[in-house]
Symmetry: C2
Subunit: 139 residues, 2 copies
DNA sequence: ATAACTGTTACTATAATAGTAACAGTTAAG
DNA sequence: CTTAACTGTTACTATTATAGTAACAGTTAT
């Protein structure tokens, strides 16, 4: 699939870290759960780490763990950390001079995107990682 | 770009039809405004037509026009008509038996997606095509 | 010194998408 | 009744974002 699933994978990784918060966790552990390569996991972990959501230790016995309590991490934090795609994307044409619609549609679409993006982010902000882990355990 | 912009293009097309609602409009006219090929425009138009948002006439002097007033068409109608991508997409792994997170994360992510998708759609439903056209004219 | 990890870069393969071309079907007009 | 100019659709190609892999430098416990 050439569809962006980094956000989804990032949530999976974070849920894994939250679920086994008592244990040492390596990129290989996480890769097995996600069913991808340790390298790919580390690439996502790197973004999460730069965003201050996870901490890591290098060297032998290197590992990763959550930087904060799962209830203090929202899906929006994760969404922003991995720079996931916007609610929709605006096409990238060259404006047709003399055509009002062609020249101004981008600004109108930007307005609409801003509004929709805000709604989407508010919803993500309302879901905590702890909630996800709770769902995972419950089912 | 391998990023889905059909929704954005569909809104552009619909805005074009709404803007010049008094004139006959062909796929070639619209293609010039969008800066793409008439074929591509017709492919999008076909979806909009099947969704009952535009009407078309075939034959010589064939044309397209809005099926309803622009104020009675929301961006959500257009979003659904072109079957645009969801708020985010869930990765497609094979479950790792014996790993609770791996087995149940999909259900948890589905919950989250449903909620976020609803928020996004409510926002799109709140923006009418007439609003877009008004923005286009104003600027 | 070695083993086992992270962090990062470079590379390949895949698949979604844009974009194009072609053509059958339709209809107005001469 | 032939022609021109559309729509509607399918098949095809090129592009490019993404997943996924491999490799290796840097780090640290043993």
């Amino acid at each position: 699939m050439a569809v962006n699933t980094q956000f989804s994978i990032a949530v999976h990784i974070m849920a894994g870290l939250a679920y086994r918060c008592d244990q040492e966790t390596t990129s290989t552990n996480l890769a097995m759960s996600v069913n991808t390569s340790p390298s790919f996991v580390r690439r996502v972990l790197s973004k999460l780490s730069k965003a201050g959501l996870v901490q890591t230790a290098t060297g032998k016995a290197g590992a990763c763990w959550l930087a904060k309590d799962a209830k203090d991490i929202s899906l929006l934090d994760i969404y922003e950390a991995v720079d996931a795609p916007k609610a929709f994307s605006i096409h990238n044409y060259t404006e047709q001079k003399g055509c009002t619609v062609s020249c101004h549609i981008k600004a109108a679409l930007d307005n609409a995107l801003n509004k929709t993006q805000k709604a989407m982010e508010a919803s993500l902000d309302d879901i905590s990682l702890a909630q996800i882990v709770s769902d995972v355990k419950k089912k």
